[in-house]
């Protein structure tokens, strides 16, 4: 852990001084905390790799600690180089005379995989962020994604024979399928919203339960009714090729479409506008910060709860649509945990729609890089899962970084990192938004 100290202690001050003049203080502080959390996770991950490299069995040491001569089975520096370099398709030639790899193009398979994951995480991250801002902890994005994905697949498969083949029919099918996904996910999100608003049922519990229900019911539906003939796995038939997002520049096997990423970025902009500059957004934010006050100020809190959860579910459902139309081409039972990862993305983003983009990209990198770690090193790829958990743990404890900030002598009154904000600011990512509230 000794090498974690300087990293975490030194970074906030430098970074915060750089960015503080440009952004609102509370946003700046959150940004610093997120960056510090990532660096600290990397440092802790470094130690974990070292320790596990000491207890693992191997014939030759992959790395020897300088000065001590102690050998380790895993090389912790190489792991991170492979992770971050590999996620971009190895633009940097390690150990070669020229620093850059001359054969590298941006349109490679690894970067495609990274961006594919990024695109999917944008939607699930936004889904969680919207609910968070309304003070609702939507753990159910996974279930909403499952339902939305199934709605998309079934709608497109059912509508395909009615429309002409080709680009026009394909575009119509994609729009139709995405709308179906939004409706399906929105419906699944509206249930816990309504239960919360009108029956006072805790949404954390109901959404967790609905995740299991969605996964199980969708599985049985496909198994018994919609299963493709002759399929060895539980899956629907494929949607027509022309109704899928086309990969354009990237290799087919990357399952990535630039247009889907652009749609995701457009959603980020739209959602930012919706939350910050519309009356609905005002309702959402005020209910999130102080539900009783919002009610007193004329906000219909119950209706806002249902609406926010429906919107959140719809975004998760669209994430499911993109997963079907871009990644898999069909609904299948082994759905990746994109909805759960959306929680981590949203938390890292401070529940800010704009922040979802870099946060989704980071987790996209971790996903793309994990594959490379599997190819190129002996270190188990599950390391990336540990890093993900550590990042969330550290992001959850801003007070820790404030203490370090104070200890490192940045002190009160300094920009960003060391600023002691209102105590309310500390007690939760759910809807704390001191700096941005409408005056």
């Amino acid at each position: 852990m000794s090498d974690a100290g300087p990293d975490a202690g030194g970074t906030p001050s430098v970074v915060s001084r750089l960015i503080a003049p440009f952004v609102d203080r509370s946003v700046a502080e959150r940004l610093v905390i997120s960056v510090a959390a990532i660096l600290l996770s990397i440092a802790v991950g470094f130690v974990i790799v070292l320790i596990s490299g000491r207890i693992a069995q191997c014939s030759t040491a992959a790395w020897t600690m300088p000065l001590t001569g102690i050998g380790f089975c895993y090389d912790p520096i190489q792991v991170y180089v492979v992770l971050f370099n590999g996620a971009f398709g190895n633009p940097i030639a390690v150990g070669e005379p020229g620093l850059f790899n001359p054969n590298w193009t941006p349109f490679n398979l690894s970067l495609g995989l990274t961006l594919s994951e990024t695109t999917l995480l944008i939607f699930t991250g936004l889904s969680v962020a919207v609910a968070f801002r309304a003070g609702l902890f939507n753990i159910g994005t996974q279930g909403q994604l499952v339902v939305g994905a199934l709605a998309t697949a079934l709608t497109v498969i059912a509508a395909a024979p009615l429309l002409p083949e080709g680009p026009v029919g394909g575009a119509v099918l994609i729009v139709l399928g995405t709308a179906a996904g939004a409706v399906g996910g929105g419906f699944w999100g509206a249930i816990p919203g309504a239960l919360k608003a009108y029956a006072d049922a805790n949404e954390v519990i109901t959404t967790i339960m609905l995740n299991f229900v969605a996964a199980n019911v969708a599985y049985v539906l496909v198994l018994e009714v919609f299963r493709a003939e002759g399929s060895s796995v539980v899956a629907t038939q494929y949607v027509p090729e022309y109704a899928q997002f086309l990969p354009w520049f990237f290799p087919q096997s990357a399952d990535f479409a630039v247009v889907a990423l652009l749609v995701g970025i457009a959603f980020i902009g739209a959602l930012y506008y919706l939350i910050e500059h519309t009356s609905f957004g005002y309702d959402v934010r005020t209910s999130g910060v102080q539900a009783a006050a919002a009610e007193y100020g004329g906000v219909n809190a119950k209706l806002t709860t249902v609406r926010a959860m429906t919107l959140s579910g719809a975004l998760g459902g669209i994430g499911g649509s993109v997963w079907v139309l871009m990644s898999e081409g069909r609904w299948m039972a082994s759905i990746p945990s994109l909805g759960f990862d959306g929680i981590t993305v949203s938390i890292l983003a401070g529940n800010n729609p704009i922040g979802v983009l870099p946060a989704a990209f980071l987790f996209g990198i971790l996903k793309g890089g994990a594959l490379e770690i599997g190819f190129r090193t002996d270190v188990p790829t599950e390391l990336v899962g540990v890093l993900r958990g550590l990042i969330i743990l550290f992001v959850a404890m801003p007070e820790f970084f404030r203490m370090i900030g104070k200890y490192a002598g940045i002190g009160a009154g300094g920009p960003g990192g060391g600023v002691r904000t209102d105590p309310d600011e500390t007690d939760g990512a759910v809807g704390t938004d001191g700096g941005e509230a409408d005056a």
Binding site: A201, P380, L383, I392, A396, M397
Partner: protein, 350 residues
């Protein structure tokens, strides 16, 4: 909405159990089992007959005990944490880490060997408990010392364990699933463990000064602080107890089959979340948690037996029943009595 059974008046039961909620649950369960028994006895060849046969058979009882142990134990742990004011949503992670570490310890010692006269399985149990308690200590420090959001920190605990256990399994055993050690602990031990833990928890919560402090720490920390008891220390105790109990549950889960399975959601498969549901369902009462845990495990065991008898009900659909039941009950009963100050950080007043 109001639940219809709450208005029923039953002479002796009304005096024994004060809360409407608990009484409705008890009446509901007794009625369902009673009807099943009667219909099953009347028509032994029907579906109900088979169901009754399953519900009252020994093999279902033993597998229920097996399946219920991790749920009930983690649920009891969750009560202690939440009663003290710290919502521990990371029970799942505690179960995962203790399941893995107990198997690792057993494999290091070797089944049949012993350390300092302690047999391998007992060492495994202790190691699992230690691992879970250590992770819960991290969670406690993060929540109490660094004022982290409890839900997010709890999720982090789950995610860390979900990554770390398969990671270590790959490092130490070369695969996400450990080899089967070929030893398993009998169900009687689990049943005994669960009953002792439940009664002990009930006693600790309701009959001791510590229990009083624990409840005060969750309901009104300021009052506790005023009388000179450290809220932080009580909360640490609550969270660490959740670690100890989850450790027993996770070790029991893994040692019941002698293997750790780390693929997908790992062998814990959401039992930690079901545990949360179990104690909410039991309204923070250890006895209620035991009832809820046994009910969920019993449903699962019944479904497994139904499959074996050749009923073509998709098993996933039967597994969905507990989740739906929970949603329905939460909707009808509304809010469970969550401690007033749970989820909030308490700042000691100087």
């Amino acid at each position: 909405m109001r639940n219809p059974i709450a208005d029923l008046s039953i002479p002796i039961l009304d005096d024994l159990i004060e809360s409407d909620y608990t009484r409705s649950l008890v009446v509901g369960v007794v009625v369902v089992f009673g009807l099943l028994g009667i219909v099953g006895a009347a028509f032994p060849d029907s579906v109900a007959g088979d169901l009754a046969g399953i519900a009252f058979s020994t093999s279902t009882a033993t597998s229920t005990a097996r399946l219920a142990a991790p749920i009930v134990l983690a649920g009891l742990g969750g009560i202690f944490a939440e009663k003290s004011g710290v919502i521990n949503i990371g029970l799942e992670g505690l179960l995962i880490i203790s399941a893995f570490v107990s198997i690792y310890a057993a494999s290091v010692v070797g089944i049949g060997n012993s350390v300092l006269g302690i047999p391998a399985l007992a060492v495994a149990f202790l190691a699992g408990i230690a691992a879970s308690t250590a992770l819960s200590a991290v969670f406690a420090v993060v929540c109490i010392e660094f004022k982290a959001d409890q839900i997010i920190a709890g999720l982090a605990v789950w995610l860390i364990a979900l990554g770390l256990a398969p990671f270590l399994s790959r490092v130490l055993f070369g695969g996400v699933n450990t080899p089967n050690l070929g030893a398993s602990v009998g169900w009687r031990y689990f049943a005994a463990l669960v009953v002792i833990a439940t009664l002990g928890s009930w006693w600790l919560l309701n009959r001791t000064t510590f229990g009083k402090h624990l409840r005060a720490s969750g309901e009104n920390p300021k009052a506790l602080d005023t009388v000179g008891v450290s809220v932080s220390r009580v909360r640490y105790a609550g969270v660490l107890l959740s670690g100890v109990l989850s450790g027993v549950g996770g070790s029991a889960l893994a040692l019941s089959i002698g293997q750790f399975v780390g693929s997908g959601e790992t062998m814990v498969q959401g039992k930690g979340f079901i545990a949360i549901v179990a104690y909410l369902f039991g309204n923070y009462n250890p006895l209620g948690t035991l009832g809820a845990g046994v009910l969920f495990a019993g449903l699962d065991a019944t479904q497994i037996r139904l499959q074996q008898l050749g009923y073509a009900i998709p098993d996933t659909l039967v597994q969905t029943i507990p989740y739906v039941v929970v949603i329905v009950v939460l909707t009808l009963v509304g809010r469970t009595q969550i401690p007033e100050a749970a989820g909030e950080h308490y700042e000691t007043e100087e």
